[in-house]
C-alpha cells in the first residue's frame, strides 16, 4: 500500500493521466492534483498523482543516487 514513485505525465484525458517512469506506463488519477499537466513530474501513490515534483530537486536526487551507484561525482554541495 505505502508505495509512491516519481513519474512524468505524458498524457491527460479529463481527470486521468498516463504517467511514465523508466519506460513503464501507468494511469494515474488527477483528482488530488488537478493542476498537473503534460510534462510535469509527479509523485504517484495508489493510482493517484499526489504532488508535482520540483524537477531540479529530482535531478539532484537522481544524480546523488547515480553517484552512490558508482557514477563520477557531479553534486558538490547540497
Amino acid at each position: 500500500m505505502c508505495l509512491a514513485f516519481p513519474a512524468k505525465v505524458i498524457e491527460v484525458k479529463e481527470s486521468l493521466a498516463t504517467v511514465e517512469r523508466a519506460g513503464v506506463k501507468r494511469s494515474a488519477s488527477l483528482m488530488l492534483l488537478p493542476e498537473a499537466k503534460v510534462g510535469d513530474y509527479v509523485l504517484v501513490h495508489a493510482g493517484f498523482a499526489m504532488q508535482i515534483i520540483d524537477e531540479e530537486e529530482l535531478k539532484l536526487r537522481d544524480a546523488l543516487i547515480a553517484e552512490m551507484n558508482g557514477a563520477p561525482r557531479t553534486v558538490f554541495s547540497l
Binding site: M1, C2, L43, G47, E57, I65
Partner: protein
C-alpha cells in the same frame, strides 16, 4: 566531508540521542541501507507507529472477517492486510476457506469490481494514514458520481500528528527528535507538526536523504533549536496538497480511534461523514463483534512506541517469523520486526 562524517562531528560530546522515525518506509530504508550500523554509538534510531497495517487493531480485522462471511460479499483490500491477525483468523485464511477477498493496487480498482459485480456488495478495507486516505476519499466521490450503489468502506484510517502528541506525553517514550514521514507531509504540509516542540525533520526515502535529515536534527540540537524543518522539498510544500486536504474534509470527519499498542487516541481516526454515510458499511449494515482479550507474549505494542526492541521480545525470530508471524510488526513488510528480521541477521544489540 561526507554526510556520515558530518553526523559524527555533530554528535561528538553529546548525550545519548534517540530519534524516532514514524514511517514504515523509513524503517525499511534505514535498515536496507545499513544506516544504524554506521551511526555513532550515541545516536540511536527507534521506530514508532509508522506502519498503518501494524497499528490496525484486532477488532478491525475481526469485523472485516465477519463481513467477508456474509453472502454475496467481496472484500477489496490492499495486499498488506491479508495476513494481519485478528483474534482467531486472518483474511488469507478466510480467503482459502472460501471468502471472496480481492487484492487491489488503487482504491479506484474498487469502482471496477463494483461495476462488474452489480449483484454483490463490495467492501473496501480503508486503512492508511494521511497519504492514502485522500485516495479512498476520492474513490468515494467517484463512486457517488458514477451512481454506484454496491460499494462500501470499512474505515480504520488514521492521522499521524495526534499519535506523535500522545507519544511525547508518554514518559516511557524518550525521544529527542522525529524523522517525519515524507509522504504524509506531502498531503498535510509541515505546519501541522509545529506543535511538537522537539526537533523534527521531514525526510525523503533515499539513504542520503535520511542522512541529510539526521544532520538537520543534530544541528538543531547543537544550536538549541526545536523546529519543523523540511529536507524533502522536492515534493513536500509547507501548505501540503490543498486539493487532497479539501477532499479529506469533504468526505471524512475526525473521530477517536483505537491504535494497536497505543490505545485510544482522541481525534486520530477518519470516518465517512454523514453526507456520504451510504458508503459507510458500519452505518448501512452494522455488525456487533465480541471484544476478545488475547493472551500473548507478543510485544508489538511496546515495539510500536519505541519502548522495546524487537529483539527484546521472547517470540522474535523464534515462534514469530515472517512465514508464521504472531504480531503485525512481523507480518507487514514495512513492520519494525520484519525489518529487523530481514536485515538484522540477529547481529543487532
Amino acid at each position: 566531508m561526507s554526510l556520515i562524517d558530518k553526523i559524527k562531528t555533530l554528535a561528538q560530546g553529546k548525550k545519548n540521542l534517540r530519534f524516532m522515525e514514524v514511517c514504515g518506509t523509513h524503517t525499511v530504508a534505514i535498515f536496507r541501507a545499513g544506516i544504524r550500523n554506521i551511526l555513532p554509538p550515541n545516536v540511536e534510531l527507534v521506530s514508532g507507529p509508522g506502519c498503518p497495517v501494524c497499528v490496525t487493531n484486532d477488532d478491525f480485522i475481526d469485523k472485516a472477517i465477519e463481513y467477508s462471511k456474509l453472502p454475496d460479499t467481496i472484500i477489496a483490500t490492499f495486499g498488506d492486510m491479508l495476513k494481519v491477525p485478528g483474534s482467531f483468523s486472518n483474511l488469507a485464511e478466510e480467503s482459502a476457506a472460501g471468502a471472496n477477498v480481492q487484492i487491489i493496487y488503487s482504491p479506484l480498482d474498487c469502482l471496477k469490481i463494483a461495476a462488474e459485480n452489480p449483484n454483490k456488495r463490495v467492501i473496501f478495507l480503508a486503512v492508511g494514514f494521511e497519504t492514502t486516505a485522500p485516495t479512498a476519499a476520492a474513490t468515494i466521490i467517484s463512486a457517488r458520481n458514477a451512481d454506484l450503489k454496491n460499494l462500501y468502506f470499512l474505515s480504520a484510517q488514521k492521522l499521524v500528528p495526534p499519535a506523535l502528541k500522545m507519544l511525547l506525553a508518554d514518559s516511557a517514550v524518550k525521544v529527542d527528535g522525529f524523522l517525519l514521514p515524507g509522504h504524509v507531509a506531502v498531503v498535510t504540509g509541515t505546519k501541522v507538526f509545529e506543535f511538537l516542540k522537539v526537533p523534527a525533520v521531514v525526510a525523503g526515502f533515499e539513504p542520503e536523504e535520511i542522512l541529510l535529515a539526521l544532520i538537520n536534527l543534530l544541528r538543531q540540537i547543537d544550536e538549541g533549536r526545536a523546529e519543523v524543518s523540511n529536507e524533502y522539498k522536492s515534493v513536500v510544500k509547507s501548505e501540503g496538497n490543498i486539493a487532497a486536504q479539501k477532499i479529506l474534509a469533504q468526505v471524512y470527519e475526525t473521530v477517536d480511534a483505537d491504535w494497536r499498542g497505543l490505545g485510544t487516541i482522541p481525534k486520530s481516526g477518519l470516518k465517512v461523514c454523514e453526507e456520504f454515510a451510504d458508503f459507510d458499511i458500519e452505518k448501512i449494515l452494522p455488525l456487533e463483534i465480541k471484544p476478545v482479550k488475547k493472551n500473548t507474549a507478543c510485544r508489538c505494542g511496546e515495539v510500536l512506541r519505541g519502548i522495546c526492541k524487537p529483539t527484546d521480545c521472547k517470540l522474535f525470530g523464534r515462534t514469530c517469523q515472517p512465514l508464521h508471524a504472531v504480531g503485525p510488526c512481523m507480518i507487514s513488510v514495512e513492520g519494525v520486526c520484519a525489518a529487523w528480521y530481514k536485515y538484522g541477521n540477529f547481529k543487532f544489540s
